[in-house]
């Protein structure tokens, strides 16, 4: 089967801007955020600057900070993320806040996400060949222990299978009360932010539901790039364009356009 091409009606840069802004909007004021690199890092900076001035960011390597890194960086352990941090401590220390239920929202990505928000970053198949990916890192921990998670992914059919080939980081498993049954005491994905759309999860069945399509994207495009019969919310809307204020902040925090250029 030939894969559908990604929708090309809106520029890739504009799509990424929409994604970052959507990620920022998931962070509420005063929240404790488990931040990742790239998109969530930028989303966190945006949220702090615009609507969540008291949000605090935790990084799994042991960094706690509330301001953007003092210079561009590649990893959370780079000197610009340490300088000016509020605290530098251990992985277990920051992950204990996760396990205590103090982390409001954690950001995740992955090679595959399925109908119930489960993530795979361990093994995938590509044209019959098994490919070994780097593995969980902290993703399984964030997915298990945060109060809610937000998943950011390029929207491609091979990345949206009905069921992940390997469940690295638990979403809602097989749906319904699965998390409770396996012993997870809270959490699960609240949103999936993709290059095409924003998706949520049904409160009962825990199945993924299309909530919003990005400007210029159609429901059909989204469904064509999704590996199962995707449910669509009756209240489907179009993702609001980034505001002038949001775009200005984006330019401030990503002046070289590393992510959104």
């Amino acid at each position: 089967m030939k894969r559908p091409e990604p929708a090309a009606s809106v520029s890739a840069a504009a799509r990424r801007q929409v994604m970052v802004v959507a990620a920022a909007r998931e962070i509420h004021d005063g929240e404790v955020v488990f931040v990742g690199m790239r998109l969530p890092l930028l989303g966190f900076a945006l949220a702090r600057a615009l609507h969540a001035p008291h949000a605090v960011g935790l990084f799994e390597n042991g960094v706690i900070r509330d301001t953007p890194p003092v210079a561009p960086l590649i990893t959370m352990g780079d000197p610009p993320n340490i300088a000016g941090a509020l605290a530098c401590t251990t992985l277990i220390d920051v992950m204990s806040h996760l396990e205590c239920g103090r982390v409001d929202v954690g950001f995740l990505g992955g090679a595959e996400v399925d109908r119930f928000g489960n993530l795979n970053t361990t093994w995938v198949e590509d044209e019959g060949r098994r490919i070994r990916l780097p593995g969980s890192g902290g993703a399984a921990d964030i997915a298990s222990l945060a109060r809610r998670t937000v998943i950011a992914m390029p929207h491609e059919r091979r990345r949206f299978p009905e069921r992940v080939g390997y469940l690295t980081s638990p979403g809602y498993g097989t749906g319904g009360r699965w998390r409770h049954e396996v012993g997870l005491v809270r959490g699960g994905p609240a949103r999936v932010i993709t290059s095409l759309a924003i998706l949520g999860f049904d409160g009962e069945s825990r199945e993924m539901v299309l909530e919003s399509v990005h400007p210029g994207v159609t429901v059909e495009e989204v469904r064509a790039h999704t590996g199962w019969n995707l449910r669509v919310s009756p209240a489907l809307r179009t993702t609001p364009e980034p505001s002038a204020e949001e775009l200005a902040a984006l330019r401030q925090f990503d002046p070289q356009g590393l992510w959104t250029g």
Binding site: P79, T89, T90, S136
Partner: protein, 304 residues
């Protein structure tokens, strides 16, 4: 009892074939690359490598054939994603098959912490329902003796040796370390011995002036080596910044086995020690990695 020695001597003495070695415990900084390269040069075999985020150091050791098993949460290239030598070993057995004991960051951290605490396991609620914990040699579902709730028991892990790179250390191994700490402290305390490479060896008085910055006490340490740029290409806060380009170059060059062998030959096997490696990089490149803008810690007074 003299602990200060060359890196060659330290690896010869403390890292043996078949050992379990924790390294890269800082997650993405202070990765002891120089020590790893020396392990490759000395041709160690059948090592079990332990670390959460392994940086490209594990990839190098795996590609060089030193490794039979990896206990890790993530083996990749922190700058560029995929670690090709790791993939070749797991997928194709090149240059040899390796076992992977898959973890999350928290489970590998707790395994080391259990070792550090001297207890057989520690409980957590992480990764319940994940495929990670299926038929796992070190992870087991148990019931809480107080609440009956499901928990994950993470079995202890005690490396034979943990290798750390730090900012400064005295001759007895009392080490000052700052920046994000990852699982370095747990790995050091869990290990039977610790090998410390440092940017500089300092007088004991420097260490004693700020005992809260001593994150590894010397009685855990078996060997100390002054190895400036010993974490290159990863950063050591205040001493060396990350060499971003290196990760991209490594990624491009090691995509094929031949490419990797060329890289290995040029950067490790034919360099006589870490100074040779630094020579390959060149003065100008190293100079650009030196911090330019000092950011001194506020004074702290231990007076009485």
């Amino acid at each position: 009892m003299a602990k200060v020695m060359t890196l060659t001597e330290a690896v010869a003495r403390h890292v043996r074939d078949g050992m379990t070695v924790a390294m890269g415990t800082g997650l993405e900084s202070c990765i002891p690359f120089a020590a790893g390269h020396e392990i490759i040069r000395q041709g160690r075999r059948d090592l079990t490598l332990v670390g959460p985020i392994s940086d490209i150091l594990f990839d190098q050791l795996i590609g060089a054939g030193c490794v039979s098993r990896v206990v890790a949460a993530w083996v990749g290239n922190v700058g560029a994603g995929i670690a090709y030598s790791f993939r070749r070993a797991v997928e194709e057995g090149i240059p040899r098959r390796i076992d992977v004991e898959d973890h999350s960051n928290l489970t590998v951290a707790l395994a080391l912490e259990a070792g550090a605490r001297g207890v057989p396991y520690l409980p957590s609620r992480t990764a319940l329902g994940s495929d990670l914990i299926r038929d796992h040699p070190r992870l087991r579902e148990v019931l809480c003796p107080f609440t009956g709730a499901r928990l994950l028991a993470v079995g202890a892990l005690r490396p034979d040796v943990t290798i750390l790179h730090v900012q400064r250390c005295d001759a007895e191994g009392d080490a000052h370390l700052w920046g994000n700490l990852g699982v370095s402290l747990e790995a050091a305390r869990a290990a039977r011995t610790v090998l410390v490479t440092c940017e500089e060896i300092v007088e004991s008085d420097v260490i004693r002036s700020d005992p809260n910055r001593t994150l590894v006490p010397g009685f855990l340490v078996g060997a100390v080596e002054a190895v400036p740029f010993g974490s290159h290409p990863s950063p050591t806060q205040g001493y060396v910044n990350r060499d971003d380009r290196f990760y991209e170059e490594y990624h491009a060059e090691t995509r094929t086995r031949e490419g990797f062998l060329g890289w290995l030959d040029r950067m490790v096997l034919t360099t006589s020690g870490h100074e040779g490696y630094l020579g390959r990089l060149g003065e100008a490149r190293l100079e650009r990695l030196r911090p330019r803008a000092p950011r001194p810690a506020a004074p702290a007074n231990y007076g009485l």
